[in-house]
Symmetry: C2
Subunit: 504 residues, 2 copies
């Protein structure tokens, strides 16, 4: 039977409308809607007095600003935010024994990583840049390389310029500048790029080669500086010739059967709605538990979308050091926002609210569902690379593009992207699987959504069934057997570096 | 006769090496170099005791950190920075009567501006975006539009996506967020885009349509929201169809002979060296004086590259309000840098120093030479549009791409870009004339440099001769009779919004 409203936890005093519920219609047996409840929004299961807690996921989303009648609509204007969890008082190691669902597969087909870390999932020539100055010339060269050279190298799947707005005109030694520099440095070592370094610089930029490369990597095989070249035509030729040399080498790479312990997956959500936390994120969380159980490493991120659940994440940290780093990273982000005159009320977006997410607490509870139940073995600063295997919190901003770029720098081979409102997001350097939280979105964007988690809301499939199916899709995409929509169509967003330091 | 070293001002106690001067070689009659003086670097004209001022442009660049012998080399390690001019104590209106050189022409061929401001210099279909989310889809559509549609509309010169990393995942109401929003809003009204508005949004982003458009502009003729469209193919078709309607209208635009009062020119420098302030910037300043004398409006920018000359700019302000706004804008930038833990020592870049610019004071003195001598009639906040005509200080960061984007938002029809070290910089939305400070750069990058100001150093041409020649080139480029190198080759850098507010 099709469900009309969902109760997430037995403690809850609200339910979520699966479809719009008309005024006077029955939401649940014996519960009549007193007003129109939009899809994904909350309906009160009981009379809620002014000041009383509104509970979803068994968690206090906030406190009623006015009395709410049983059957009434609860939206962002109905409740007051609770206090944020205190980062000085986090407790770790309380929930480390959740049983993980057994994985039906334990291997995938990946490209061995010359640096020894997680495997590649694609074989790509990346052309890195020190500075935006070179991007105009590089783009012209890349167009020609893609047209003329790439078709000759059948084992290479793409040529990707790693362009950005960093590198000069920035306070390169100010606090926070380590983040964009580390991002670029680690992007160079992304497993999809096969250890072939190709870097185009200008010559007078602040971001010097030694900040990105090791001394023995700085040579004419790997680096072109435009100020040393005799004019535009010669620049194009030099870039073309270096790309050809690198393509030849990359063309030798082959997939091998590798254990899932060599797979690194990133999780993200964007354009969330109230179903994200009911369908897509729990399904991703189940798949993540399967991956972790099979030895893979999974990152989840987005500081402002975990902050209000810091205590829940801390409880899953495997040791005190991990818990302390969690507190440090989240405190850093709190301070960053405060210094800029912002706070967590800057999130959610208007679209989130329209989709039924009343406030950041509700968004966070849905967002952290994607991290499943596995112990958290490590916490990373933005764009750091993992040193452990298992479930990892990789701190980033929640901006889809900043988070995507940061997770790429951490080395992810696949990103799983949950969306409720819908975004055509894609990355050029790694495949992105887009998971819809509602079947209506899958029906509307049939050619853009790779996986529909909507049936978990309507009762057609369980989270476990969806999670296992998503697990298979992740492994198939990693293995190159399935190409998600954004990859097939070439939908590539720009890389966006997170630079908390000033522009000069 | 070829000059070996240049003295900028009779008060100076240093000269600038036109070419490298070998140890023991004669730099000027009777002056022997005690050590190797690299090209563009400073040689002492007299013994300078420890603590004494080092004078160039008749201005104190700093104070000797150790005794310097006559004939010695002065570099960034030789001197200590002086105090910055006090912004609370600026005096205005002291230098308003500099005679401006008469302009040899008073009109150009431009596209009348439907909004009534400065004229267009090109006829371009711009496709604006609310948020990075849509960029992947838009890029695919633009490629098809450029290939299939643009060739049918002979009077339109380009299709330019106005893509950016702003729009969501940002603290949209934090202090400073007005800057990126104003930038995008004013870019929509750039005179080169002919008043034809085409905006692609997603649907759930924080940057809502009302922040960019007037109520009567928000309609299906001008705006596409991807979340309202049925899938990827339909998105491409909708963008294509709207672009076709806009191209038809733009194709009706024709150039008309317009007075130079309809011309708005932006000045910028990037990759500067010690010659920038000897050749390229003074030549640009002379051309700017001619333009202003003929009624045109000229912007100069780059807070950290004028800050140490604030007192000199203030003296040219026409009234107290302008002087106060100058102080306000520069103070804002000081505070912005300080908040981020940076200061003016973040500038100059290593390349600047290698080119002979010892510190920010020396860089600034060279940089403000580009503003010529005309009275300063207005000071703009970043990305504001001028309300007056004449010489204007438009506050921006010095980053080439942030400044370029900001000046575009202010409405410039042509940018004149002075470079010493060399950068292949270009903008897609307006032509950029690249001026080299050294003939060696023009010789090396013959196909990228549009105008060589080097002869002012070697004595081949005067600043007045070069300035007048540059004036003609600016007017010819504005009129579409000359296409600078970056425009001919399609060398287009990314737009970079200045967002001082946090990412969330």
């Amino acid at each position: 039977m099709k469900k009309t409203a969902i109760i997430m936890n037995e403690r809850d005093n609200v339910a979520i409308a699966v479809e719009e519920i008309g005024r006077g219609a029955q939401a649940l047996p014996g519960l009549i809607a007193l007003e129109r409840i939009p899809q994904g929004h909350k309906i009160a299961l009981e009379d809620i007095p002014q000041g009383a807690a509104i509970l979803r996921y068994g968690v206090e989303l906030g406190y009623a600003l006015r009395p709410i009648k049983r059957g009434g609509w609860i939206n962002e204007d109905s409740l007051r935010l609770p206090e944020m969890p205190d980062l000085h008082d986090l407790r770790w190691g309380l929930r480390l024994d959740a049983p993980l669902p057994p994985a039906p597969r334990d291997s995938f087909e990946g490209y061995p990583n010359p640096y020894g870390g997680p495997a590649g999932t694609r074989n790509i020539l990346a052309i890195h840049t020190t500075v935006q100055c070179v991007v105009g010339v590089l783009n012209i060269a890349v167009e020609r390389i893609r047209r003329e050279l790439l078709p000759q190298y059948l084992h290479v799947q793409g040529v990707v310029p790693i362009s950005h707005d960093y590198g000069c005109g920035v306070a390169i030694s100010a606090p926070g500048a380590d983040i964009p520099i580390r991002t670029l440095k680690n992007l160079i070592r992304h497993p999809n790029f096969g250890g072939e370094i190709m870097l185009v610089g200008l010559g007078c930029e602040k971001l010097t080669l030694d900040m990105l490369l090791k001394p023995d990597e700085i040579n004419a095989e790997n680096v072109l500086m435009l100020q040393e070249i005799e004019g535009f035509d010669a620049m194009l030729e030099a870039i073309y010739a270096m790309a050809e040399r690198k393509l030849k080498k990359l063309n030798e790479r082959r997939r091998e059967t590798l254990p899932l312990s060599k797979l690194l997956v990133g999780l993200q959500c964007g354009g969330s709605d109230a179903f994200s936390g009911v369908t897509a994120n729990p399904a991703a969380g189940y798949a993540a538990d399967m991956l972790v159980g099979a030895g893979a490493t999974v990152l989840f991120s987005e500081a402002s979308e975990v902050r209000d659940g810091a205590h829940l994440i801390a409880e899953r940290c495997v040791d005190e050091a991990t818990c302390r780093k969690l507190a440090y990273e989240l405190q850093w982000f709190d301070d960053y926002l405060e210094r800029g005159g912002a706070d967590r009320s800057a999130n959610p977006s208007p679209g989130n609210k329209e989709g039924g997410l009343s406030n950041i607490v509700e968004k966070v509870m849905g967002a952290i569902a994607k991290s499943g139940t596995a112990p958290i073995v490590e916490v990373l600063a933005p764009a750091e690379r993992p040193s452990k295997q298992g479930m990892i919190y990789a701190n980033t901003a929640a901006s889809d593009f900043v988070c995507g770029t940061s997770q790429l720098a951490s080395g992810i081979g696949v990103q799983v992207f949950m969306t409720g409102r819908g975004t055509p997001y894609g990355l050029a350097a790694a495949p992105v699987i887009k998971v819809s939280s509602r079947t209506a979105l899958k029906q509307q964007w049939g050619d853009l959504i790779d996986f529909d988690a909507g049936p978990a809301a309507t009762g057609g499939m369980t989270i476990a069934q969806l999670g296992e199916s998503l697990f298979h899709q992740i492994v198939d995409v990693a293995s190159g057997r399935v190409r998600p929509a954004a990859e097939r169509y070439g939908i590539h967003n720009d890389l966006c570096l997170f630079n908390p330091a000033p522009i000069t």
